[in-house]
């Protein structure tokens, strides 16, 4: 199969006159990294990989060996409709290996690949559909507050429809490169957009999220505006999340569906949900990795705060949407805490690991929380046994640090590096004196 794929890639590159092939991979923080090779090098790259010095890539550094090998995944070879028409460019996602050919433990794509393959060995395929939110702003000057392009709200067809055009063109570009879009609309906040991708297997979707973030930014930049996936760029309005719809298939059957259950949820779906709930705090540093992420996870802005699940209550962490026409294939969970600043490979790996731990160990699903949890006080929540997500990056790191599940799922290398890096970020934040403090204390204390 790989030989035929490589043959196809080489022939396509030559037929389409591809000058540059961008070799894509992702650092531990979730930034897309790339180096370009010429068409002449492509065959060599497909056969033997390309060596590069990984020491200055975030999370790739090691004590002894700094060289790593990028081996392109030929199934992800795609010509990009960016740049000038005369010189076609293509991208291909790479898996990073050590020089001896073993998977490199600092590569997030290899981490997700390992989880997906372990699940596959048990006959399971993990499908994901993310709903990605982001903001458009006019290109900011350094130090300036972001300025929205419109004041539209949820589902608004704005009159000053700059953002609508941007969104349309973004979707056309995404579809052209094989990323199907299910819905798109103007979200609640000024200039905030949501684009929902159709489900696909976890590895493909993680690749698609990386491509998506690039395409959204590129299209915006081509129109002289700025797109951001920062979780909470504006105070007082909703932030940007990445609600993630999850399902697990066993062959052709949805392992989450049970026609005899009153909620149509199988025992697998229930213990998977229980696993996510029980380990949610531990995986939050990965699904919500910035200081700013926690300014989104507050009451009052449709973001989850409590460790709870419900069918149609959007105040909980996990929602079980009621499928259209009771379609067994559409039974799924919606995990609502992640934000689009996360590394999708690591975030999906941990969602799968937490859920499957629940399944393997037969976790009991707590009762559905159908009340509006934001209206309950701490005492009432305690009585229901409902805890909270971490309130800050520091709390999230504290929970992650003590998690065997996360350590095992990410591997020692990424686990240690991520904690070190994020502790530094927290220290930088902690020592910063903010405008809030100046306004509040300077005159009165």
């Amino acid at each position: 199969m790989r030989e035929q794929q490589c043959d196809y890639v080489l022939k396509t590159a030559s037929e389409r006159g591809v000058r540059m092939v961008r070799m894509w991979f992702t650092d531990v923080l979730g930034n897309l990294k790339s180096f370009a090779i010429s068409q002449n090098e492509l065959e060599n790259a497909l056969n033997d990989g390309m060596t590069f010095d990984g020491s200055s890539i975030d999370g790739f550094s090691r004590v002894q060996e700094s060289d790593v090998l990028a081996i392109p995944d030929p199934d992800t070879f795609q010509i990009l409709p960016l740049g000038d028409k005369g010189a076609a460019e293509a991208r291909v996602f790479c898996d990073i290996h050590n020089l001896d050919g073993t998977p490199f433990t600092g590569d997030p794509r290899q981490v997700l690949r390992r989880h997906v393959e372990e699940a596959r060995a048990e006959g399971l395929t993990f499908y994901i559909a993310p709903d990605i939110e982001f903001f458009y702003f006019s290109t900011p000057q350094p130090g300036e507050r972001p300025t929205p392009l419109d004041n539209g709200g949820y589902f608004d067809l704005t009159t000053r429809d700059v953002t609508g055009d941007l969104r349309k063109q973004t979707i056309r570009t995404l579809e052209q490169i094989g990323i199907p879009v299910e819905y798109s609309f103007h979200e609640d906040s000024p200039s905030q957009q949501e684009i929902d991708l159709r489900h696909d297997d976890a590895l493909t979707i993680a690749d698609s999220v990386m491509t998506f973030r690039l395409i959204v930014r590129e299209v915006a930049a081509a129109h002289g505006v700025y797109a951001t996936f920062m979780p909470k760029p504006l105070e007082g309005v909703q932030g940007s999340g990445m609600h993630t719809h999850l399902s697990l298939f066993s062959g052709d059957d949805n392992a989450f569906y049970d026609e005899h259950d009153e909620y149509n949820l199988s025992p697998v779906a229930k213990s998977f949900t229980a696993g996510l709930l029980r380990h949610a705090a531990e995986i939050t540093a990965i699904t919500n990795p910035t200081v700013n992420s926690y300014k989104r996870l507050v009451p009052g802005f449709e973001a989850p705060v409590h460790l709870s699940w419900a069918r149609n209550n959007r105040s909980g962490l996990i929602r079980v949407p009621i499928p259209k026409r009771g379609n067994p294939l559409a039974t799924r969970l919606e995990y609502r805490s992640p934000d689009p600043s996360c590394n999708p490979y690591l975030a999906f790996s941990l969602m799968l690991a937490a859920g499957l731990k629940g399944v393997r160990e037969g976790y009991e699903l707590p009762a559905e929380a159908d009340a509006n949890l934001f209206e309950l006080d701490d005492h009432a929540l305690n009585k229901l046994g409902i805890g909270q997500l971490p309130q800050s990056l520091a709390e999230a790191l504290h929970a992650m640090e003590r998690s065997e599940l996360v350590r095992e799922a990410l591997g020692e290398h990424i686990f240690e590096w991520f904690l070190r890096n994020k502790r530094r970020e927290w220290m930088d934040y902690k020592t910063h004196v903010s405008q809030f403090e100046i306004d509040r204390y300077l005159g009165t204390l």
Partner: protein, 232 residues
């Protein structure tokens, strides 16, 4: 690896049955046998294989994957005869491009010999199908792997291309997801019928709004390529 003489037949089987070995020996054929999991390229003689006999009765999936390899576009195709049991005839449908002739097992030695003579005697290049598949504005060039719609290139991944090629070569026919999996993915796939659904969605997205309906969903059956002539 020992050098294989030119003019040698490649015989693939798991294992190669004694009857087959005897028939070839009695007919005075030069042949070399491999398992379906082996790589025939590793021992290919200099002037190429004289032809190939692939016994599919034990392990059809690996057998087909060898047949596919022998038909790769960057080499001269090797004439191939496949052996199937009576219960396996369905394996042959929609795979015409992968073999030149077939024989049922258990075979009659003189029939196999006669078919082999005919296979190897035919002169000229292997009859290949038309190199360009056209349907309305869609064109697929099987030689260069390039697809276009209204003369605009469609940039497909390998599996998207293979799926579109298979569908476009069989317009109007309804295929179940299982059928598409076994014919397009071979047996290497994982993930079941949903794999087909997600690839169809990606293809439709790339075909664009105007042409997305070239691949039609046939409810509770599967997919059909081509626009229906009548409005439902």
């Amino acid at each position: 690896m020992t050098n294989v003489e030119s003019g040698t037949l490649l015989v693939v089987g798991d294992p190669i049955s004694p009857e087959l070995a005897r028939t070839l020996d009695l007919a005075g054929r030069k042949w070399v046998g491999i398992c379906a999991s082996d790589d025939p390229n590793a021992i290919e003689p200099e002037g190429g294989w004289a032809g190939a006999i692939i016994d599919l009765s034990a392990d059809p999936e690996s057998g087909w994957s060898i047949a596919r390899g022998l038909r790769r576009s960057d080499r001269d195709p090797v004439r191939a005869l496949v052996l199937v049991s009576g219960g396996q005839l369905a394996e042959l449908s929609h795979r015409d491009e992968l073999f030149d002739d077939f024989c049922l097992t258990p075979f009659h030695p003189s029939e196999l010999e006669a078919r082999l003579d005919h296979l190897l005697a035919s002169v000229g290049p292997v009859a290949t199908r038309s190199e360009v598949v056209m349907y309305e504005n869609l064109a697929l060039n099987l030689e260069t792997y390039q697809a276009s719609v209204s003369d605009q290139p469609l940039d497909l991944t390998y599996m998207e291309y293979e799926l579109l090629k298979f569908l476009a070569q069989n317009p109007g026919k309804v295929f179940s997801r299982e059928m598409l999996l076994s014919r397009v993915w071979g047996y290497d796939y994982y993930g079941g019928a949903r794999t087909v659904d997600v690839h169809v969605r990606r293809l439709r997205a790339k075909l664009g709004e105007e042409h997305a309906d070239l691949i039609q969903t046939v409810r509770s059956v599967g997919y059909r390529f081509g626009r229906s002539r009548w409005k439902a």
